[in-house]
């Protein structure tokens, strides 16, 4: 078996040992239901509330604003659908405004609300050639019917950062009383200081498995009190926003992951940005290669490129054979790589988008691994280029 080179952190980051250790206590024997009143329940509740404090600090909000969920997709769904349902209770029309490059967690939630509820509309905002939201297009999309504006902090495919302050000032300034703003910070969490970069947003979605925590663990964090209805009311947990018994282990796993991420943030950024620079420089010499967005626009962990005349499927197959785990960054539920809606919105030609490749790094990625990756990827591209 070839040694494995893991360059797919943006899909799921390696689970941290500390996370597994911290969760261990809550995965065996009696684990009380945090809603109960006895000793075991109180122990569980204490662990959940300690986790809530840590998540609140990570995002820069009050603990009371943290709603634990089953992951990033659920957090985004709750933000979009919950805001829309609350708005709809007092308005005839409710408009959801999102960028075209949001993750499907947001786009599909908006589409779902628009197709299921009368009077709900989903408006899409354009991005520029680098994938950055066009603020003029955003301004044009906002009117007094808008219920929520959702723009991601960092794009999950390209790693491009969005101008959230601009988004929120337009959202606040265009409609008297302002509108709710949400940001999907899932791809940003490993790299950015969320209390700063998401300071202007009302609702922030995060999840644990992109930062070394478990899957099916996440949170929607409410920085300021905005109208939000729960979409799964049953049981009334999480202040009525998310019914169902709270998963203590998941909360502890998320809290441990955010604590470690926050602690390492500056060091990891400093180190990985050098790896990103090195990787981009090497790739730019490969035939047909184009770097999707300039590094200054991106978080350090992601390198997104397209190869002309080469299909992602083929690159990924040969990389996999050589032990490299990477991704085309957009795939359907069957696992097939599909044409990316993000690249389409950026105006990348379909012939180029077919050859997209995302290499994503994390805290434990080493320079030696990057060197090995460069050697393998170069031989793969030269081989496919020769066979074309």
């Amino acid at each position: 078996m070839t040694e494995q080179l893991y360059f797919d952190h943006a899909a799921s980051a390696p689970r941290r040992d500390e996370v597994a250790d911290a969760m261990e206590r809550w995965q065996h024997g009696v684990v009380g239901n945090p809603s109960g009143s006895h000793r075991a329940a109180r122990d569980a509740r204490r662990a959940v509330e300690e986790a809530r404090d840590e998540v609140a600090a990570f995002v820069g909000a009050k603990p009371g604003g943290v709603i634990f969920t089953g992951g990033g997709t659920e957090s985004c769904h709750l933000a979009i659908v919950g805001s829309t349902l609350a708005h709809r209770a007092t308005h005839d029309r409710s408009v959801i405004v999102t960028s075209r490059v949001e993750h499907d967690a947001v786009l599909d939630a908006a589409q779902f609300a628009a197709s299921q509820y009368e009077g709900v509309e989903h408006r899409l905002v354009d991005v520029d050639a680098e994938g950055v939201v066009d603020l003029e297009s955003l301004r044009a999309a906002i009117d007094p019917d808008v219920a929520v504006v959702s723009v991601m902090t960092v794009n999950n495919e390209t790693g491009v950062c969005q101008p959230l302050d601009g988004v929120s000032s337009i959202a606040m300034g265009t409609v008297p009383g302002g509108v709710s703003t949400h940001t999907d910070a899932v791809a940003a969490a490993p790299w950015l200081h969320l209390p700063t970069v998401t300071a202007s947003m009302d609702l922030i979605s995060i999840c644990a498995h992109k930062i070394g925590g478990p899957v099916n663990a996440g949170a929607l964090v409410m920085r300021r009190e905005v109208p939000l209805l729960g979409v799964v009311p049953g049981g009334g947990q999480e202040r009525g926003r998310r019914g169902g018994t709270v998963d203590v282990a998941a909360c502890v796993g998320l809290a441990t992951a955010v604590r470690l991420t926050q602690k390492e943030l500056v060091d990891v950024n400093d180190r990985v940005i050098d790896l990103q620079r090195k990787l981009c420089a090497a790739l730019s010499f490969l035939p047909g290669c184009a770097i999707t967005a300039p590094a200054a626009r991106k978080v350090p962990g992601t390198v997104h490129v397209t190869f002309e005349g080469v299909a992602s499927d083929e690159v990924l197959f040969l990389l996999d054979q050589a032990g490299v785990c990477a991704s085309a960054a957009s795939s359907c539920s069957s696992g097939a790589a599909i044409t990316s809606h993000v690249l389409a919105a950026m105006g990348v030609a379909p012939e180029r988008a077919r050859g997209s490749l995302r290499l994503s790094m994390g805290p434990e990625t080493t320079e030696d691994e990057v060197d090995q990756l460069i050697a393998i990827l170069s031989s793969v591209i030269y081989r496919l280029d020769a066979g074309a």
Partner: protein, 347 residues
Amino acid sequence: MSGGVDSSVAAGLVLEQGHEVVGATLKLWGGVSDSGCCSVADVDDARRVAQTLGIDHHVFNYTDEFNRHVVEPFVRAHVEGTSPNPCIECNRHIKFDVLFDRARRLGFDAVATGHHAQVLEHDGVHELARGADEKKDQSYVLGYLGEEQLASLLLPIGAMKKGEVRVHAERLGLRTWDKPDSQDVCFIEASKGREAFLRQRVTLTPAKIVERASGDVVGETDAAELMTVGQRRGILPGRDGEKRYVAHVDVARGLVEVGRLEDVVINHVNLVESSLSFTHDEPGNRDEVLIQCSAHGRVVRATVVRDPSWALRLHEPARPVAPGQTVVMYRIDEPSIVVGAAIVASP
């Protein structure tokens, strides 16, 4: 690996033969589907079979190519009033063109599929032959393959009856062992049908149904594009009480001609020159062949005519064949071996 039992067993058998095997599922259709082989459930089945066998599995996306080579020509042909066979186009352009090319680029020596057909080899020369299971034989849809493709094609279940394939699947512990066969065109929802599919894409043409002999109008249809030459279903019997068949479809003029069987039968078939494809040498003028004009159609004896355009003179009258259909030729001396294939031209 479509997620069906045949390709599952094919993968298992080539692995047992000692080959190094990687499973590939082709994602072909991006739209809605309730049948065929592109649903997420089918990909999951294929992936689970690969896991059971202990081989790697990849999903390759060919939705663009499938649209370009199969779906768009399918729609266009209907507009032109011809009857394409999408399965043939898919096999030809996707499975044995694009996939073969990819296999070569990625360093594979051969492609194995679960088709019911056989590759025979004598002294380094390869022939395509019918599958051992007559009812399942798929040599017709592979009729366009040439020597180069046959030389790197493995058809491990071609010598088996379907029952044997299922026995192997059970023996190998594959979850697909009792999965029903797929029959329909994979990109058309069985519950809605071809008409709904076409109506979403083009405007269909209402047409008069005219008795060929008398010129009398005997009925009408709201979609001439859905009428196929040779079709009887949906056509009312004539005044004489006898069955009527579609003899000719003219979409542009909104006209469908019908007639009694003896009025519509044909005794020769014209071939589209550019579509001619032969496994090896092309047959000479007046050579005899056996021909088949649909997936499980009747086999008819015919003489090749090249004077100079290509045609087939049938030795007995046959039901009319729609332009756009594929005719596959088999050897007269070895009736299971494919000679070549061509598209049927207008009469």
